[in-house]
Structures are given as C-alpha cells and as structure tokens.
C-alpha cells in the first residue's frame, strides 16, 4: 500500500470567484514508503501548492488524499498525528520560524509531540549539532542568513522524527558544500532509516543523483510520473514544461552521438565517472 495516494485533487486560491481556474487541477500520484520522489516543474506550476496539501495544511476543493489508505479528509482522521509523521520544510524558511530563539523554535515540534522539556531540549540540541549549527542556538531566527534559516527550519522538522520528509526547494540559498552535505544527510535518512522523501527542486542533476521517482508538474497538472532517467531523457517533454535537461543527460547524448554508449541506468555522478573510465580506458 502506498504511503500517500493523491487522488484527483484540485485547488484554487481564489475561493470567491467561481469562474477562476484551479491553481492545481486534477492532480493524482502516489508515493510508496521509502521512495525518494522529486517534484519538478517551472516556477508557478503549482509544486508548492501540491505539497502543502500532503499534511493537510491546505484542503483540496475536489479530490481526496489517502495516508496509509485512510482519507485525511475523514472527520475522525487525526490531522495532528499526520503532521508529526509527515514533516514539511517550507520553501521560505522565514514562513516557518516564529520563536524568539533558535533552540525554542527547533524544540517546538518535539514539545507538541509530548516529549518532556529536557528530552525536547536534548533532541533539539542533537538536531542542531547534526546540522552543524549548535552555535546558533541562542540567536534570533529572523537575524540569520538565508541558508542558516533553512537549516534551523529543517532542524525543527528533524526533532519530530517524521516518517516522511517533504522538502520544498531544500537546497535554495545553501552554499555548494553545505548543499552536498545536506543531500547526503537526506540520502542517509532515506537509505539507512527508510524515511520517505518528497522534495521539490529546480536542479535536475540532483534529481538524477538522488530521486527514484519523478513527478513533472506543468500549469497545475501532473504532466508525467515515473523513472527519472526516462523522464529527463525525453527532451520533448522537458521543452513542453519549460525545463532544461541536466548535464548527465547532455554527457550521455554527447557520447552517444560519438558512438559511445553508456548504461542508461548509470547516470549518477559516480556511475558516470566509472562508465567513462570503462569506455575510455
């Protein structure tokens, strides 16, 4: 059974104009436990709107969302416990931070989950040191840099130890080293702890690198759903959705045109290096 099953949801922001078109329309997809799903699409296509439905922050005007087979719109569905199991890091971390100090902000979710004060503080400190920012614990969140805010927001979700991580452009505003560390950490959460990851990104190389499933969103609709390589090799589809193919595919095509064929399923950075070694040496 998929962990999330999104069934034909539609949503529009303008609730008072019946003629307004839906911002997302007839969206369906499913996410299995342990999946590493990427949502891609150009700016304004509706990605953030879609993911903010998954933990019930927005309620779809039409359609249904099943979490472990149960409709989250059911009267007796426990939305609060869903929010503990499904942690969301917003696109704009400043929308997510509200406390006076970083540590208070990070421990908020743990306290709500029912942990004791000491335990919550301990977990918060753990999360902060995990992200290498324990030195910020007494700072005011609003005064931090963009990347620091993002880490604090992520730490606030980490303390709840959710089963599903929903990350809306987690790499935006991070320097390249931090970004790599960050993705490695998420990858570890996925591989070692079996956490399900749904992330939004504009960097398609990261999609090849990390995702095992891609959902392409275009103009509020799901354009295609499937295996990353198949989707990212389809330049007609990418062009239609206003996306540009990642470097890995460029390299693959370049080599193919020169008569060198590398394995399609081996387009991750390390794989490509190995493949190149194999075909060139």
């Amino acid at each position: 059974m998929p962990i999330f099953e999104v069934k034909n949801i539609s949503f529009r922001y303008d609730k008072y104009d019946e003629n307004a078109s839906y911002n997302i329309d007839d969206i369906s997809f499913s996410v299995d436990r342990g999946d590493f799903v990427a949502l891609i699409g150009k700016s304004g296509s509706g990605k953030s709107t879609i993911v903010s439905h998954l933990n019930g922050l927005k309620k779809a005007d039409k359609g249904d969302i099943l979490y472990e087979g149960k409709s989250i719109y059911d009267k007796d569905f426990d939305l609060t416990s869903l929010r503990f199991k499904c942690g969301v890091v917003f696109q704009h971390p400043e929308y997510q931070l509200f406390s006076e100090t970083v540590i208070e902000d990070v421990e908020f979710g743990a306290l709500k989950k029912g942990l004791s004060k000491d335990e919550a503080r301990l977990r918060a400190l753990e999360a902060l040191s995990f992200l290498g920012i324990e030195n910020l614990k007494d700072e005011v969140p609003f005064n931090l840099s963009g990347g620091e805010k993002r880490k604090v927001a992520f730490a606030g979700v980490l303390v709840m130890d959710p089963d599903v991580f929903i990350l809306d452009e987690p790499d935006a505003g991070l320097d390249s080293k931090t970004k790599n560390d960050f993705y490695m950490m998420i990858k570890n959460l996925n591989v070692l702890k079996g956490k399900t990851i749904v992330f939004i990104t504009h960097n398609l190389d990261d999609v090849i690198e990390y995702a095992n499933k891609v959902i392409v969103v275009n103009d509020g609709k799901v354009e295609r759903c499937g295996n990353p390589t198949d989707i990212l090799m389809n330049d007609e589809l990418l062009r239609k959705c206003g996306l540009v193919e990642p470097y890995a595919i460029d390299i693959y095509n370049y080599l193919k045109n020169r008569g060198i064929l590398i394995d399609k399923s081996k387009l991750r950075f390390n794989d490509i290096v190995q493949e190149l070694n194999r075909v060139l040496l």
Binding site: L57, R83, Q96, F98, S99, E100, F108, G109, K112
Partner: protein, 272 residues
C-alpha cells in the same frame, strides 16, 4: 476564521463604484453611516437597505466575500443583541424565569443588529473598492481645507492609510504563523472555546515581532525612496471629479433627504 476579516482589504474589479472618485465614496460612506443613525422607522431602514443593496450590486464584489466580513462580528452582534433584548425595561412580551424580553428591548435589539451589520458592510464596501493609495489621496484632498488651520493633513492621511493597509498584512502574518505552528503539531481547532483561545496566545508574540519588522521594513523602504513630509508631493493621477461623481453626489443628497423625510412619517407599523 482569521481570513474572514475583510475590513481594509481591496478587491480588484471593474465597476462603477471602483471607478468613483474616492472623495465621493468617503462622503457616501459617511452619509450612509449617518443615515443609519437617524433612521427611526421601517421606511428609513427599507431605504437604507435598498441603498446598500444597490451599492453591493454595482460594486461587483461577490456577496459571499462581503458577508464573510460579518462572520468575525457574530460574537459582538450576539452580545449586543442579548443585552438589549433582556436588559431593556418596558412591556414584557416573553419570559424565561427571571429573564424578560420586552417589546422595547426587541425593537432596540433588531435596530442595533441592523445598524451594526449595515455599518460593517457599508464601510467594507469603501475599502473593498478603493485602493489604499486612492483612499489616502481622497482623504488628503477632501480634508485639505484643514491645512489652513495648520492641521498636518497629508501626514494624517498617510498614517490612516498605512494603518488600514496593516490590517490585511497582520491577518496574513497570523495565518502564516498558524500554518507554521500547525505543521509542527499545534492544534487550533480542537477543544473548547477556552482551549481555542489559549492556543492563540503563542501566536501573539511572533505576530507583534513580525509586525514591528514589517513596520521597520516599510520605514526603510520609504527612506530609501527619499520620502519626506516637508516636501509637497505631486500626484501621478491627480484627483478630478467626473460626471458620474456629480451624479452620485446628487443621489446621495436625495437619499439623505429621503431618510430625513421618513422621520416625519408617523405610521405605527407592527413593532417598529
């Protein structure tokens, strides 16, 4: 719930009312509010209803959107109705134990409710159809005769429009913080009214902090554009009356005359 406060919001539509000069709309709102308080009998209320209905129809803002503003008012409405209903002395028409509903109380309660509801609808039509900048312009120009008495009209107008503009910003901010907290397990819907009220407390500090930040940002932005109160600014679109504005003034005059006239009709219709 928080989203239900429509006061101070602008709703973009192409309608006659949006098109009117802001001074006319300010006067119209004032006239309408006045008319509510000099209305004494059912005829006056009927005319006021008609006037309001016309305005609602003409402004092309969906009725549901306008009525949404009333939801946040229900508690206030209920309190004032209940107090008037039970605490006005007079001829008793219904009794529940020690509580008596009097004829006079009933009349006052109904009038009060109508006045309150119309008042909110009337003033929200003004803000729904007028952008804050036009409102400021209207206020500034409409009150410019006060400059002769050394009243800082421009500054007052600016302050008022910023205050008005901050209502939706604060609402937006509240919603943002509620979203952030509920996505990490805060629950604003569960429990009794007391529980709900308690769950709002953790919102207050962040709300004020962010309001001050927004105010600070605004001040910096104004400074960066060299805003100064000592320079008299020119307007991109200077206000000028058009035909429709004069017509509206005439309609307003007729309307208030009509309402005043109804005070002299002495017919005992039902309880009114």
């Amino acid at each position: 719930m928080i989203r239900d406060i429509t006061l101070g919001q602008y709703y973009n539509r192409e309608s006659v009312i949006h098109f009117l000069d802001p001074r006319v709309k300010l006067v119209a709102t004032l006239v309408f509010l006045m008319s509510l308080f000099i209305s004494t009998n059912i005829f006056a209320y009927a005319f006021a209803t008609l006037f309001l209905a016309m305005a609602i129809m003409l402004c092309k803002v969906p009725l549901s959107f306008i009525l949404r503003g009333l939801k946040s008012l229900i508690l206030l409405l209920l309190i004032s109705v209940v107090f008037n209903l039970f605490l006005t002395p007079g001829e008793t028409i219904l009794s529940f134990g020690i509580l008596h509903i009097t004829r006079e109380g009933l009349i006052i309660a109904i009038k009060m409710a109508i006045r309150l509801v119309y008042l909110v609808i009337g003033s929200s039509i003004l803000t729904l159809t007028t952008t804050p900048s036009k409102l400021t312009d209207g206020l500034e120009k409409g009150l410019s005769f006060l400059k002769a008495f050394r009243v800082p009209v421009a500054e007052i107008a600016l302050m008022m429009s910023i205050a008005l503009r901050f209502i939706p910003i604060l609402i937006e901010e509240t919603e943002k913080i509620m979203n952030a907290q509920s996505s990490r397990g805060a629950d604003f819907d569960k429990g009794s009214i007391v529980d709900k009220a308690k769950s709002l407390v953790p919102l207050l500090v962040p709300l004020f902090v962010s309001a001050f930040r927004r105010a600070n940002d605004l001040a910096i932005a104004m400074e960066a554009r060299c805003y100064s109160d000592s320079v008299s600014r020119t307007k991109l679109k200077p206000l000028a009356y058009k035909g429709i504005d004069y017509i509206t003034y005439v309609i307003l005059f007729l309307y208030i005359m009509l309402i005043i006239f109804t005070r002299y009709i002495k017919i005992d219709v039902g309880i009114m």
